[in-house]
Amino acid sequence: MKINRQDVEKVALLSRLDMTPEEIDTYAGQLNAILEYADVLNKLDTQGVEPTAHVLPLKNVMRPDEMRPSLPQELALSNAPEAEDGYFKVPKVMEG
């Protein structure tokens, strides 16, 4: 068992997903199968192998420090589910 109910609960919280107990079980089973399949990677000795985070040998891609036009406030808020006085409005936030 690679991933149990508690693991799924923890991961669901980290991912901000709400799960019913049944869903937790279902996902635990599915994730388990996938992770067990992924176990085959442990057969491979990767000692000293550099990880590839970027497949292209690019480096130092930068832009000059120049201002470009911003969106008008209205357009910036155009998709906001809730807005007020030019702000995005969200339910109460605990200090965190």
Partner: protein
Amino acid sequence: MELFKSTIHALHDLLVKKEISATELTSSVFNRIDAVEPSIHSYITETRQQALVQAAAVDAQIGRGEPVAPLAGIPGALKDNICTQGIKTTCASKMLDNFIPPYNATVVEKLADQGAVVVGKANCDEFAMGGSTENSGFFITRNPWDTERVPGGSSGGSAAAVAAGQAIWALGSDTGGSIRQPAAFCGNVGLKPTYGRISRYGLVAFASSLDQIGPITRDVTDCALVLNAIAGYDAKDSTSINIEAPDYTKALVNDVKKLKIGLPKEYFGAGIQPEVAAAIKKSVDQLVAMGAEVREVSLPHTEYALPAYYLIAPAEASSNLARYDGVGFGHRAPGNDIIDMYKQTRSQGFGPEVKRRVMLGTYALSSGYYDAYYLKALQVRTLVKQDFDKVFAEVDVLITPTVPLTAFKIGELSDPLTMYLQDIYTIPINLAGLPAISLPCGFAQGLPVGMQIIGKPLAEATILQAAYAFEQANDYHARFAPLGEV
């Protein structure tokens, strides 16, 4: 032949000769959409009004005797994970069912520069996660060759639209095979370019180090034309290659003499549908008869590519999809506080496959597991890439089946892992960032079989040429899905 069955290059000729108008052509495509959409369901959004405006502009240009670009006035579809300014872009997800981007993806701007006509946003697997388009948050698209079957995924809507005549060309995106596999299932040409060849700016990210946009077309010539329109450096994309793209139509040469073809033995093992294996073999024999040389090669780390992908892609996705939280755009569920809102919004907005991958990815990156999973997968990625680098020192292209099977029935592959396993031939190519094209090479029980040609980095021209020569020696590209009488 009906206009909607034609190709970009043929239609372009008719347009510049003024034998047809762009408006006429566009209307013809709309009529076709009206006729077959009830059975295919390719489109999430149709943009008829805008399309007619675009077509009219091209007609005016032609009327004034001005030269027009190859794609001018030619109707096509965009996968609905490509941002279109002012037009709903949903990624086939309830999470974004009301999202209207205030900007265009770079490829959209480039198509507009050519005067291309966009008729709609095509259905796909939700957030591009899937291999059948069954994961769309809205509806399933059907394969025009057999409407009981899937068109493939995740760019299923794009491939189906082209195959059904609902678009002359389409753009899809490919992270683990999502252009090539639906192209194979729907009998189209689909090309995933070298990573970085086409700008990702405006492509809603799934797995950033793997995603690429690419064309889905009726034939190889059209593929080259679309590639010409959208390839090239973009300053807005830091992972964009700053090397000028060549004119890909120059690669449309009917010659494979001395082309060195490698057949990676790991791609021809057990588990391939017999007709698929047979069609590939027949096709390779044909290429040899045309002057190519073939040899067996080995990509020893192939079996590790898929598991590595299913750690890397979900990991990146888990981070890329964190922004879907109900705050600034998209779906929002009510909540007592912000955390409650996040959870409800995301639980309601995402489908099961997306949730699965987000959790898998979160797990692979989490404290205590990062080294064993994510880091390990990145190391395996290096080995997979090195395999390809080694064989490309000996051969020019690799040929494999695109998918081990032909289009399966809707609902047939219900187990997630089984669904993942059919990506086995396409995924390694994304890990290595290589260009690859899929084109039809036969039929099995009336269903198209796709052949994949893989090239070195930035060798789109090489694979296009091989594909073109093969295509010209056959007539698969001229066959059309038998979609009932219209």
